[in-house]
């Protein structure tokens, strides 16, 4: 069986590293070489060369061509070693995937091709079945987490909006004799505009997240003066954030990247949360919560000197509702008089006590998130699908005599959203009609 398209993806772990490896496989590898490099590559020779897209040098890279069948997949393959970091590898992958003959690979596809071409033996191939399954699910979960801040929830909410519009329209089409108390066409137009606006917003957010986030985002939260900035600096090992004893110093969110056991982390220092009437501080608190929403991991810091307050309880309750990993940490144990346990980890940022344990806990949480190299691929796929959804809904025109065409555009919109979410409930348009309208002539 011959594959017709050429696939591309990142082969090294995602995130910041010294070098990133990008792999292409398929019949059009030569087209890619001609398109992005100024000269041909020799078989199995590493060449130092510029990767050029639309006359811009994206990066100077090492490129190696493996002519099929002497390659991992058995097809023509190209490996590009570029400078590490999401921006560079993402740009290169997108450039390659943008040509007609190529696309981003699905999880497990390289192995699959290797098997089809007889490069992997039977026992290995049979193992792929289970791996691909778990890979797909894990990667999808991971991608959702990576795009957290309620990404799934946001897609689900748009999906529901679209479904509601479809239910109205399909009911009008399939049950014309029923006196369905449907929204008027103008109302539907309004609903469609709202759906478009939500899609727009989500697309923008997703772009922002994709660029920023090939690393785990960890946010430090706590009341003012709990020692968040001290901890932030201690973890970073330099003075990225001002540490000041006056309450409410870090009004804006400050972030920096660090590397923990090889895993890239974006660490966010936030404004202290407390009840206040100061508009600037209120804004600071709001931003702190948004940062928490967008984070993959929340580190909540108690002030060991003062003990757990009512405010602490409220805030912890609130962030627990965000349903993401939380580490509860008590700071200033050196100043603590009473022995009471608020957090699971006890530290003193000032005296550098318990920091190694905290780092270990953070690493464990990251490991639990099961991130892998498929994440960024899937994220890009999700972004593409969101855009496709938007194109489809934008193309529709709500008028009675073309209601069937509007229904078609909405169906396409929904298909894109369903692809992101993975599974569609069967029969839900009809179910929606039957539960919302009294049908039955």
């Amino acid at each position: 069986m011959k594959t017709k398209d050429t696939i591309v993806s990142l082969a090294s772990p995602s995130g910041v590293s010294a070098v990133s490896v990008i792999r292409c496989s398929g019949p059009n590898v030569q087209t890619i070489i001609k398109r992005f490099f100024k000269k041909d590559l020799e078989d199995r020779v590493a060449t130092y060369i510029d990767f050029i897209d639309k006359k811009n040098v994206i990066d100077d890279v090492i490129a190696i061509l493996y002519k099929g069948p002497r390659s991992f997949t058995g097809e023509d393959m190209l490996e590009i070693l570029c400078h590490g970091g999401p921006v560079i590898y993402q740009t290169i992958i997108s450039s390659i995937a943008s040509i007609e003959e190529a696309r981003e690979a699905e999880p497990g596809e390289f192995s699959e091709r290797a098997f089809i071409n007889g490069k992997i033996d039977l026992p290995q191939a049979e193992a792929i079945c289970s791996i691909i399954n778990s890979e797909t699910i894990e990667a999808a979960n991971a991608a959702r987490k990576a795009l957290s801040g309620g990404f799934s929830e946001e897609v689900i909410s748009i999906d529901k909006k679209v479904l509601n519009i479809r239910v109205e329209i399909e009911a009008l089409l399939d049950f014309p004799d029923e006196e369905i108390e449907h929204a008027g066409l103008e109302d539907l137009d309004g609903l469609i505009k709202t759906a478009i606006a939500s899609l727009d917003e989500l697309i923008e957010k997703t772009i922002a997240r994709c660029v920023l986030s090939d690393g785990v985002r960890a946010a430090i939260l706590g009341r003012p003066n709990a020692g968040k900035s001290s901890l932030f600096n201690l973890l970073l090992g330099n003075d990225a954030s001002i540490v000041n004893k006056q309450q409410g110093t870090t009004r804006d969110v400050v972030f920096a990247s660090l590397n923990l056991d090889g895993a890239p982390i974006f660490l966010y220092d936030t404004a202290g949360i407390r009840k206040t009437t100061d508009p600037i501080e209120i804004e600071g608190c709001r931003r702190s919560y948004i940062t928490a929403e967008n984070a993959d991991l929340i580190i909540y810091l108690f002030d060991g000197e003062e003990g757990e307050t009512l405010e602490d309880k409220e805030v912890v309750e609130k962030i627990k509702n965000m349903k993401k990993p939380i580490l509860l940490v008590t700071n200033k144990i050196d100043l603590r008089e009473k022995k009471e346990n608020q957090g699971e980890i006890e530290i003193s940022a000032k005296e550098n006590i318990g920091i190694d344990l905290l780092k270990k806990k953070i690493s464990e949480e990251i490991a639990l998130m099961g991130r892998n190299s498929s994440v960024s691929v899937i994220k890009n796929r999700q972004l593409t699908l969101l855009r496709e959804a938007k194109d489809n809904i934008l193309a529709l025109n709500i008028s009675l005599n073309e209601l069937d065409l509007a229904a078609e555009q909405l169906k396409r919109t929904q298909e894109c959203l369903v692809k992101i979410l993975g599974e569609e409930e069967e029969d839900r348009v009809l179910s929606g009609i039957f539960s919302n309208f009294c049908i039955g002539k």
Binding site: I116, C129, T136, L400, C438, I439
Partner: protein, 618 residues
């Protein structure tokens, strides 16, 4: 022993189309029904067509079936539903005179060559040790052999009727139930399920005060059902009327709910969500103060009126009480009370796409026995089963109606893959390809199939071919006609692509353009042009999504051993054993992730085979 190519059991809408199709294919065919008199009987509401259903009836017509033509000969009230919406969802509906409809169908059956009718009851299906069906046994103990048998027994299998707290065994409308056959099917190990449906009381029109009801006349621009009919075939036209329930009605119904078998737990079968009883409507939509009732006359020479929208199984006295609260019906006389009926059906997931039973060869099933509801759904399965049983008997390749080209295909594909969790009725939203599956292009969609199986008589086939040539010719003319609009010169074809344009306007824009005769051809061309882009895109999408779907799943796959699949997926795959990835994708419990597993598994099995063949050679 008597001997036929094909035997059809049951003379309802599925059975008649099945035996007619089989006979037209050239097979010696026998129809066995309890009473000839009931052939063509409309046992529920006296109408043909509607959304999705009009499409089905027209597809049956394009395949040479009898239903649409009979609707024209008996229709007393015609409408095109959705006329103000897009042409893809235009749907023809006709109110029929029951007697005229029956007469029309019975006439076709009588005239059909190669077809015998026998009034009897079948008590057994003859199946040999290899699970091949080879005939039937009648109640007289007479055995008749055949190469194929089509079972279309509707709701006759262990049918049970409920009115209030009374219940009794019965088939349709007072006919007897076929219990022996039901028992035999159970003994053969075919999986049976139970469904329910209901029917409203029938009213004496002489006791209705129509003056307080809203009149609903048929369309001025009256549609014709069959491609082979014209307006002159229609009998005299009359109006329908619309009445409304009120709070008082609902109160009466609520008070007697505990006597409704569907509510006190006596009936366990699942009823259709789209056709709830009035008890259901009142309970589920408490806020609604009034429900519509369509009062549909059952014919020109009868006083019976069918009140569509109030199917009920309340006790007789309560039916009378609630109906008489409705303005216009305050003195109404009930001719026959409404009832709920519970019946057995055979899980259609046990069928192939040819409607042949997977466990018993040469046994075909069609109609309500497969869990569907509606005359049109029954008729279209009937015609498919008839064509295929005939092909089987003739030793030729059978026909799989495709989802992409017909509603018949959509329905059969849904049934064999998803089963019938509730009585299955057609809706246009079930079709992915709705913009192509239109009433106006039904001839283009199905004529090649009709021709291939010889379903149309010579003169009809001639008509169809001339018509298609005319369409092609007109499309060509529109491409060549230049018109000036908004200072631009474009072809009439391009003009018709634009939104809110229509064929009739071309004459106004261009003086020397004359509409084609008949103008209907031009209007159909305009619709064709309008949808062309969308249809093309749908086709591409389907092809794209089917690239992988064409992958065949080898027979020898042991699904129970693929642990990466969910238990539900494993069970369903083992039972249904899909032939391709496409079929697998439609099975419940199959996620995109499980499809990629199946894809790999298919390749693994293929490679396994190669390796073992290689080893065997060396």
């Amino acid at each position: 022993m008597k001997n036929y190519d094909v035997i059809v059991i049951g003379g309802g809408h599925a059975g008649t189309e099945a035996c007619l199709a089989s006979a037209r294919c050239g097979c010696k065919t026998l129809l066995i029904t309890q009473r000839f008199e009931t052939i063509g009987q409309m046992s529920c509401n006296p109408s043909i067509g509607g959304i999705g259903k009009g499409h089905l009836a027209k597809e049956v017509d394009a395949l040479g079936g009898a239903m649409a033509r009979a609707a024209d000969l008996s229709g007393i009230h015609f409408r095109t539903l959705n006329k103000r919406k897009g042409p893809a969802v235009w749907a023809t509906r006709a109110q029929a005179d029951r007697e005229l409809y029956k007469k029309a169908i019975q006439g076709v059956v009588r005239r059909q060559k190669n077809l015998d009718v026998c009034e009897s009851e079948v008590i057994d299906i003859l199946v040999d040790k290899k699970n091949v069906c080879h005939g039937v046994e009648l109640e007289t103990k007479e055995k008749i052999s055949s190469k194929a048998v089509i079972l279309t027994t509707g709701t006759f299998l262990s049918g049970k009727i409920f009115i209030g707290e009374k219940s009794f065994e019965a088939g349709r409308d007072g006919d007897k139930a076929s219990n022996k056959l039901a028992k035999r099917l159970r003994d053969l190990g075919l999986p049976l399920g139970r469904l329910k449906t209901g029917t409203p009381p029938r009213l004496d029109g002489r006791t209705i005060d129509f003056s307080v009801l809203k009149e609903q006349p048929g369309d001025d621009l009256r549609p014709v059902f069959s491609f082979f009919s014209n307006l002159k075939d229609h009998p005299r036209q009359i109006s329908c009327y619309i009445g409304r329930t009120n709070n008082q009605t609902h109160e009466v119904i609520r008070d007697s709910l505990n006597k409704s078998p569907a509510f006190n737990g006596v009936i366990t079968g699942k009823g259709p969500r789209y056709c709830p009883s009035i008890e259901d409507k009142v309970t589920r939509f408490k806020d609604k103060e009034s429900h519509q009732i369509f009062l549909e006359p059952e014919g020109l020479n009868t006083n019976i009126v069918y009140p569509n929208g109030i199917s009920t199984s309340l006790p007789e006295e309560d039916q009378e009480r609630f109906i008489r609260t409705i303005p216009g019906l305050t003195n109404v006389k009930i001719e026959k009370f409404g009832y709920a009926v519970e019946y057995d059906f055979l899980d259609p997931r046990g069928l192939s796409s040819f409607l042949e039973n997977k466990a018993i060869e040469n046994l075909f099933l069609a109609g309500q026995i497969n869990g569907t509801t509606g005359y049109e759904e029954a008729a279209s399965q009937g015609i498919a089963a008839g064509i295929n049983a005939a092909q089987k008997a003739l030793g030729r390749e059978m026909w799989t109606p495709e989802r992409e080209t017909s509603y018949i295909g959509v329905m059969i594909d849904d049934l064999i893959n998803q089963g019938a969790p509730e009585p299955y009725r057609m809706f246009t939203s079930r079709a992915e390809n709705r913009l192509y599956l239109r009433e106006d292009n039904v001839i283009q969609r199905l004529s090649s199939c009709a021709e291939k199986y010889g379903l149309l008589e010579d003169n009809k086939l001639e008509n169809v071919k001339t018509y298609q040539k005319n369409i092609e010719k007109e499309l060509g003319r529109l491409k060549g006609t230049k018109i000036e609009i908004d200072d631009q010169i474009i072809s009439a074809y391009e003009y018709l692509r634009r939104p809110n344009t229509n064929y009739e306007d071309i004459e106004k824009i261009k003086n020397d353009f004359a509409s084609v005769e008949p103008q209907e051809i031009g209007i159909k061309c305009a619709i064709e042009i309008k949808y062309e882009g969308y249809v093309k895109r749908q086709k591409q999408d389907i092809q794209k999504s089917q690239r992988d779907y064409r992958i065949e799943l080898p027979e020898e796959i042991d699904y129970s051993k693929i642990t990466a699949l969910s238990t539900e997926a494993r069970e369903n795959l083992s039972r249904i054993r899909p032939k391709t990835l496409l079929q697998a994708s439609k099975i419940s419990g199959i996620t995109p992730a499980s499809l990629s597993i199946l894809k790999i598994q298919a390749k693994v099995n293929k490679n396994n085979k190669k390796v073992s063949e290689k080893n065997a050679r060396s």
